[in-house]
C-alpha cells in the first residue's frame, strides 16, 4: 500500500470513528472534543487533496472558532461533570435504522453512478488565484456569492448580539 492510500485510510477511519463518538458520547464536553478531532481530520483530508487554503480556513474557522464557541456555551449552560441521560432503546433502534437505510440507499446510488474521469490539467490553487476569483465578476468569478456571504455574516452577527443581550426590563 502506498503512503498516500495509507494516509487516506487513516484520515477516513479517524473521521468515521470520532463522528460516531461525537454522537454517542454521554459526556457533553467530550463530545465537543471528539467533534474537534473530526474537524481537524477533515482539514487533513483537504491537505491530502492539496487545497491548502481551504484546510487553513477549516482549521481556523471550524476548529478555532466554532468549537471554541460550542465549548463556551457548554460551560455556560450545562453541568460538565454530569452524564447525559441514556437514550431509550426504541429511539436508538429506529434512528439507527433510518440512518443505516439512508446510508445504504446513498452508497448503492453512488456505486451505480459512472463518474467520467477528466484529463483536464489541475489548476494550481494559490493565494493569487483565490483572491482574483473572489473579486472577479466575469468568467470563473465568485464576486456575487462573496458579497452575499458578507451580508449574511453581518446580519448573523447583529442577530446574535440582539438575541443574546439581556433585555432592560427583566
Amino acid at each position: 500500500m502506498e503512503i498516500n492510500e495509507l494516509m487516506f485510510v487513516i484520515i477516513g477511519a479517524v473521521i468515521i470513528l470520532f463522528s460516531i463518538f461525537t454522537v454517542t458520547s454521554r459526556r457533553i464536553l467530550r463530545a465537543a472534543a471528539f467533534l474537534l478531532f473530526v474537524l481537524v481530520a477533515t482539514a487533513g483530508l483537504y491537505f491530502w487533496l492539496e487545497y491548502q487554503f481551504l484546510a487553513a480556513v477549516q482549521i481556523t474557522l471550524y476548529a478555532g472558532g466554532i468549537v471554541v464557541l460550542i465549548i463556551f456555551s457548554i460551560l455556560l449552560t450545562s453541568n460538565v461533570g454530569e452524564k447525559i441521560d441514556k437514550v431509550e432503546t426504541k429511539k436508538v433502534i429506529f434512528s439507527a435504522l433510518a440512518a443505516i437505510a439512508g446510508a445504504i440507499l446513498c452508497i448503492t446510488t453512488i456505486l451505480q453512478q459512472q463518474f467520467q474521469a477528466t484529463d483536464a490539467l489541475a489548476q494550481e490553487v494559490n493565494m493569487k488565484v483565490i483572491g482574483k476569483s473572489l473579486l472577479n465578476y466575469g468568467e470563473n468569478g465568485y464576486a456575487l456569492p462573496f458579497e452575499v456571504i458578507s451580508v449574511l455574516l453581518l446580519a448573523a452577527m447583529v442577530a446574535a448580539i440582539v438575541i443574546a443581550k439581556k433585555s432592560k426590563t427583566s
Binding site: 477533515t42 466554532i66 440512518a99 446510508a103 452508497i107 456505486l111 490539467l121 489548476q123 490553487v125 446574535a160
Partner: protein, 105 residues
Amino acid sequence: MLHGIRLEYFLILATLMFFVGVYGFLTRKNLITMLMSIELILNAVNINFVAFNKFLFPDKLEGHFFALIVIAVAAAEAAVAIAIIINIYRHFSNINVENVDEMKY
C-alpha cells in the same frame, strides 16, 4: 483516480459521516449536541463539494469556493444558534428540547 484513491471512496466516507450526523440529530435531546450533529452534516457535504471539484473538474474552482461559503454559513449559523440557546437557558434554566415547549401551542 488520485494517488490510487477513487472518487467513490470520498463520497462513501462523506455519506457515512452525514448519516452519523443524522443519527445524532435524531437521538440527542440536548440542543448543543444537536448543533454538533448539524456541524457534522455540513462538514460531510463540504467533503463532497471538494472531492467533486478535485476529481471531476480540476481545472475549475467551483467546489472549492462553495465549500468556503458553506464554512462561512456554518459559522454564522453556529453564532445565531448559540445566542438562541443561551436565551433559552435564561428562560428555562435548561436546554433540553423536551422541556422547551412553552411556545408550542
